[in-house]
């Protein structure tokens, strides 16, 4: 892709406004290429900031996480970053704040909690609840 889509006239745009995910032909196994090494096309949503619908954000507490990968599996927007099955954090550029990751987190207390978007993550971590007892 030589010319940016932003500079293209009507005659240069793709038919039916389709958006390609990658540059060039994918003749390799995508799962074997790390995201940072993938040849994402300009029009891939990877390159678009779409996190601005969020009112509440999930905050990740690494000290409590057991790396079960539930959040990674359930996240509808692939916004949980995990590497070699070790949880790394949240992709805030694409997370919409739906809270599913918090819902499925099995630890006690949870390793992911929702906080106001304007709250700083380091402040959020100081407000973490204690372990809840049976029946609480």
């Amino acid at each position: 892709m030589n010319k940016s889509i932003k500079d293209k006239g009507w005659d240069e745009l793709e038919l039916g406004a389709v958006l390609f995910s990658f540059n060039n032909t994918v003749n390799y196994t995508m799962a074997e290429v790390l995201p940072e090494d993938r040849d994402y096309a300009e029009t891939n949503s990877k390159n678009a900031y779409v996190g601005d619908w969020r009112v509440f954000k999930p905050v990740f507490n690494a000290e409590l996480c057991i790396d079960c990968q539930f959040c990674w599996i359930f996240c509808p927007d692939t916004s949980i970053i995990s590497r070699d099955k070790v949880m790394q954090g949240i992709d805030y550029d694409h997370c919409k704040g739906c809270g599913i990751c918090v819902e499925v987190c099995p630890t006690n207390p949870k390793s992911l909690l929702m906080f106001n978007e304007h709250e700083k993550n380091e402040d959020a971590l100081t407000q973490w609840p204690e372990k809840s007892k049976k029946g609480e």
């Binding site: 745009l13 995910s21 990658f22 994918v26």
Partner: protein, 408 residues
């Protein structure tokens, strides 16, 4: 080509629906998703029978509504298959949202639209309300006036829609009942010749091509929407060339000639009507009978309704003194669509025939040879007076006092 060949006679007796079904079968469609509705039901019903009898290799999907039928078609087309469906009237109305998706997403779907009135009051008979509802939808719209033409045009629709320079969906129109349920002689092509004519399906940005992952049906706001609609309109206008090439190629294998604008009796005609659908063939008889009396009248009928062949219509009407644009759809508070198109076509040309707009045949109301002869005789009066004898728009064939609008 389907594995099982159907042996056809040189001349078959088919109604317009069977003509559609056979054309769909021969085109070797990958996916037909449909929800049958009168009067297009037999198009789908015959097709399902052929499918059940092993004559169709493609998928036939029964869906829960026409909205779902067209949605299924868009999905299957984006996935990379040849796709078709059929509907009428209320079904088309329910489909309309997805028609815009189909054209905007540039999915070359073929829709067999058997024209029927739109409710209310509910009515299953033929008029052009549904055809007119598709006017701005971005689909190519072709009109068949007989079962033979329905067969030919449905076959040609695939070739036009899927052409690399077009990639737009096509509607193959025919009149409900008058064409769809009237069995006539139809000369089909053999399965082999028909299939070869339509050709292999050309995939463009298919979703099932995993080597080029692609997103269809995207959102664009003020920054790109206009460019994409411009590109779509340019493709629609550019399709004239492909339509003409397809007509020419079809003539070579069938001997049947199609034109952007059909005409009859226009040599030396003093007056003309402009119409669509089966009225064209009725009017041919009226023209013949009047010509025997020495009254020179003719007919002009756009074969291609969208894109509208404005230049050809203007040329066809340069030498007449009066024209009646016959619209078979309630115009909803203005003049009919054909009146608008014809007036627009002639405005920048030297010709200034007296132009009237006749609203007729709503809900399947018959248009007889005698009525057509009266229309022609009234046009001759207008031509002789050099001006309108009545108002611009008149509803004809309706009971009650004369109903006409717009003073000249």
């Amino acid at each position: 080509m389907n594995k099982k060949i159907m042996e056809l006679n040189e001349i078959e007796v088919w109604d317009g629906n069977m003509a559609n079904s056979q054309a769909l079968r021969q085109a070797d469609v990958d996916v037909v998703a449909a929800y049958p509705i009168t009067p297009s039901t037999p198009t789908v019903e015959n097709y399902a029978t052929m499918h059940a009898n092993g004559y169709i290799d493609g998928e036939f999907v029964m869906v829960e509504s026409e909205h779902a039928a067209m949605s299924g078609c868009v999905g299957a087309s984006a996935a990379g298959g040849r796709v078709a469906t059929a509907t009428s009237s209320q079904g088309l109305a329910l489909m309309i949202e997805v028609l815009y998706q189909a054209s905007g997403m540039r999915t070359p779907i073929v829709l067999c639209l058997v024209n029927r009135a739109l409710a209310a009051p509910l009515n299953v008979n033929g008029d052009h309300s549904d055809l007119y509802l598709t006017r701005d939808s971005g689909w190519i719209s072709l009109d068949a006036f007989s079962p033979q033409e329905a067969y030919d045009i449905t076959l040609m629709s695939f070739k036009i829609a899927e052409h690399k320079d077009v990639r737009l969906p096509v509607i193959s129109n025919q009149d409900g009942f008058m064409t769809s349920h009237t069995a006539q002689n139809v000369k089909p092509l053999s399965d082999e010749v028909a299939n070869k004519f339509v050709g292999e399906y050309l995939q463009v940005n298919a979703m099932l091509d995993f080597s080029r992952p692609v997103t269809h049906g995207v959102q664009t706001e003020h920054d790109w929407h206009f460019e994409h609609k411009a590109k779509q309109h340019a493709a629609l206008m550019g399709s004239f060339k492909v339509i003409q090439e397809t007509f020419d190629e079809f003539e070579k294998i069938s001997g049947r000639k199609y034109k952007m604008v059909e005409s009859y009796g226009m040599d030396g005609a003093e007056v003309a009507i402009v119409c669509l659908g089966s009225t064209y063939e009725s009017a041919m008889l009226a023209v013949d009978q009047l010509r025997e009396e020495g009254i020179k009248v003719g007919i002009v009928a756009p074969r291609v309704f969208r894109p509208f062949p404005l230049e050809e219509v203007a040329v066809a009407l340069q030498n007449v003194k009066a024209v009646a644009c016959m619209d078979r759809s309630a115009p909803g508070g203005t003049v009919g669509a054909l009146y608008n198109e014809v007036a627009g076509a002639l405005f920048n040309t030297p010709a200034r025939p007296v132009l009237t707009n006749l609203i007729y045949g709503l809900g399947g109301r018959d248009m007889t040879i005698n009525e057509l002869k009266n229309i022609f005789r009234n046009l001759i009066k207008d031509a002789n007076n050099g001006k309108l004898t009545g108002k611009i728009q008149t509803l004809i064939g309706v009971r009650g006092p004369e109903l006409s609008f717009y003073e000249q």
